[in-house]
Structures are given as structure tokens and as C-alpha cells.
């Protein structure tokens, strides 16, 4: 059983999609396409108890029966969640966060890492660290 049921693309596939992007429009078109590739979450995910603090948009996260599920009502965040899942799939938890940051920088999306945007990415990592309690392999296959 996979711990990341919503995972559909790996890191190579994601980088591939952005490799020809020049203008910001192309990058965001790809990101919005990625958003559509976020696997469906359980309908029960979107509830208050799963909401992450500190987001301008809503982000829901649950880890039940060893399965991580994530969702957001903002498309750009959903696209970023696809990248986040791919990082979790390839790296242990604490490394996944730095790889995720490096990926965003490489793809010209670094502005989403800024604290001031308050977009909840930091909150997602914190929630995952809280769940993992030091077990780096919690979300890996």
C-alpha cells in the first residue's frame, strides 16, 4: 500500500515539464497543469480538523492508516503540492523540504518560499514533522 496515494508524477517528470519554460506564463501554465495531476483526495479530507494554520488559502492535510492526503482550494498551491509529494517520494522527510525549496528555485518559483506570502507551505512541513516525530521515513514508500 502506498503512503502517498495522490502521487502521480515523479521529480524527473516534473522537471521535464518545466524544461522548456521561458516566460513566467509558461511556468504558471505548467504549474496549473500539474495542479490537475494531484490525485483525488477522500471527500472527508476537507474538514476543519484537517485545516493547516497560517494559509491565505485553505490547505487540508491528514495522515490516516499510514496514508498522507493533501488538498487545497487554490490551484497554484495544488500544483505545489504535487511537487511536494514528489519530493517526499524521493527523499527522507527533512531532506525533502530542502529538495523542495531547491526545486522551486530551479523552476523559477522561489517567490512561493517567502514567509511573507503566508501561503501555508511552511505550515504543511511543520504539520508533517509533527506527525513524523523524528521518523524520517514516515512518508516514504
Amino acid at each position: 500500500m502506498t503512503k502517498l496515494p495522490q502521487l502521480q508524477l515523479d521529480l524527473d517528470a516534473i522537471e521535464q515539464r518545466f524544461s522548456d519554460c521561458r516566460a513566467w506564463e509558461e511556468r504558471y501554465r505548467q504549474l496549473l497543469l500539474l495542479a490537475k495531476g494531484l490525485g483525488k483526495a477522500d471527500p472527508t479530507l476537507r474538514q476543519e480538523a484537517h485545516l493547516i494554520d497560517g494559509c491565505e488559502s485553505d490547505v487540508w492535510l491528514s495522515f490516516e492508516q499510514q496514508q498522507l492526503q493533501l488538498d487545497s482550494n487554490a490551484k497554484i498551491i495544488r500544483g505545489l503540492l504535487v511537487m511536494l509529494l514528489a519530493c517526499l517520494d524521493s527523499y527522507p522527510l527533512s531532506q525533502a523540504q530542502s529538495e523542495f525549496a531547491a526545486l522551486l528555485k530551479r523552476l523559477g518559483l522561489a517567490q512561493h518560499l517567502s514567509e511573507s506570502r503566508n501561503n501555508g507551505l511552511q505550515g504543511i512541513w511543520q504539520a508533517m514533522y509533527a506527525i513524523a516525530q523524528g521518523d524520517e521515513q514516515t512518508f516514504c514508500r
Binding site: E25, Y28, E56, S57, N73, K75, I76, H112, N118, N119
Partner: protein, 402 residues
Amino acid sequence: MSQTAFRSLFPCFSTKDRFPVYLDSAASTQLPQSVIDAQVNYCRAGHANVNRSGHTLARQATDKFNQTRQLVAAHIGAQAEQLIWTSGTTDAINTVASGLTHLLTADDEIWTTELEHHANLVTWQQLAATTGASLRYIPVLENGDLDIAHFEAQLSKRCKLVAIAHVSNTTGTINPVARVARLAQQFDAKVLVDGAQAVAHLKVDVNQLDCDYYVFSGHKMYGPTGIGALYGKPAALDALQPSKFGGEMISKVSLSGSEWNQLPYRLEAGTPNIIGALGMGAAAQFLADIEFNERHRHERQLLSYALQQLSTHPEVELLAKPMLQTSVIAFRLRDIHPQDAATLLDQQGIALRCGHHCAMPLSAKLSDVGSLRISFGLYNEPADVDALMQAIDHCVELLGDD
């Protein structure tokens, strides 16, 4: 003065790097050259602490500082001795709230409104919690106006304080604060008006409003951050117990106790933000130097142009249509999350605010996912609205194709 003339007074718009289309003046305004100069020149010429040392440089600084108090007081039609320096609106509201704690009991009511900035809402929640008083809210109607009739019907002698924004930072609604003050004063309740969003746009006269307190920030009226003011009627300021201690707020200290200085010093503990105050004074002067009608006309034209453009755009939903509005518009794009829109607008060099605008209760009422907010300053021009509309089209095109 022509539009471009206003803009040319603000150096940030002529920097070589591409400066954004700045539509976020409700969060903070840009600084004109004169305000920058006032602060820089003072620092360059040499600085001294005020109200303390007696040497010539200190006396000069003190004189300048006191003239500045007068300038800022005059901006709202007040006298210098009625004006307390604070670090901003939030600080001023907190000074009033802690200062009034001793007067409130569990039988009393504090009234505020559903459209307040958190600074003018949470502070009263806290005061209610510490004193046991009840906190009540003037409701917001569908169009973004306040339901004053509700307030009038519910108001009783239990009410001790009404705290209300002059202008909403989320919808731009201009509230009928003079009327609210008249109603409240029938029951001897004190009235605090949060003028943070009003002082750069309206002609404010505290005597005409007849409020007990009026609070505002320097950085929303073309001044620097970290400085603001609390105006109070003499009796209203007298009623405030100091909540910060030290410095020139004290007149006499012995080991068994201390006595407080007279107003306004009694409520100004520690060395004031002298440089900030000079900047805020220069901002008041900057506004005084432009004829009010000229500023007003410019801002009205911008607002109505923006409202017309936004309200006729098929993908734009205006979230409030107040009867009286100034310089702020709340809206969203159909079927598009405001955060997605804001990200793509930012990519196109449009600086606006997205989210709850520090007014969560109101925001939740207007839209379940937050909103977009544009707000104007003197430096904005119709071309900024055109740039926004173009960017919105592009945004809809990118986000809409599902």
C-alpha cells in the same frame, strides 16, 4: 496640480528598476520627497533628545518636535496638547483600552462593529475579557454599510464605549461616525474613532465628529512607519490611566511612589520616536500644501473609474457597494481563488492585497475564501486601473481554462 504632478512628488515612481503598479496604499503609503527630506535633514543636521537636556541643540530639537505635534494635531483639527504620540493606530487603541480598564465593570457594554480591523476588535475583546464587560457589535449590512438602526435600538446606558472605524480598510465604507458619536453621547458613552484609513483621504475635523478619541498612523498618510497619534478631548485623556511608565511621563519619583507629569507627556513613556514624528509632521504638511478639493477630486475620479471598470468586467464580483466609499475596493474573480489571482497579478507587477485584510469577521461575511483589495493613493492614475484590468484579463485567461 495635474495627476503626473502628484506622482512626481514620490521618488519611488521614478527609480530605474521597474516599480510595481502600487494598489496597496491601505496597507501603507509611499513617501514623498519632502517626508524623506524632513527625516534625513534632521539626522544630518544633528540630533538631540527632546524635553530633557537644556543645551541649545536639545532645545532646538524640542522646539521642532513641539511644532510637529501642532502640525499633526492640525491635520485633524485638534490642538497640540490634545495629541499623544504613539507608535501607530494599534498602539493608540491599546493605550485607550488599558487606560480605561479601571472604569469598566461586568455590567458595562463595549460596542464595536463587524467591519473593524483586528486592532480595533481584538483589543476590545481583551478588555471585555479582563473587565467582564460585554462586547457587542454593530452589524454590517449586505452592501458593506453598518446597520446603525440596530445600534440605535440596542443602545442603552450600559454602553460605556463605542469603538468604530472612520473608514473600513476592507470595503472603503465611510461610516457615519458623527451620528454614532451623537447617539453614544446621549448615554455618556465615550467614542473612539479609528481613523487609520481616513486621514489620507478625508477632511477630518475631530470637533465636528465630536468623538472622544481619534487614532491614526503615520504610514498610511504618506509618513513613516512606527509613529502615530492618539487625539483625545481633555476629559477623555484625563480618564486614561497610563499603562507604560518611565521617562518624561513622570514628574516626581521617590522610593515610596511617583507622580505623573501633565498631558500630553503623562501618556508618552520613554524617548519618543522623534525622527518618525518629524516625518509624520512633514506628511501632514505635505497634505496641507495640496488643496483638499484637488486631492479629493483626483481620488474620486480614480475610485469611480476603477468601480466602473471593475463592475462592468464579466469575471469580477464587487464584494461591497457602500453608500459612501473612499479609496478602497474589495472584489474577487468568479470561480478563481483570490490567492491564485494575487499570485498571477503579482507576476504582472500589480501590488494588491489578498486574504482577510486583518478583518476576518468581515472578510468571512463578504466571501468564504477571502478577497482581493485594491486601494489608492495620490500617486495612482487611471493608467494603473487600466494595467490592473489588463492583468485581470490575463489572469482569467491563465486560470480559467479548465
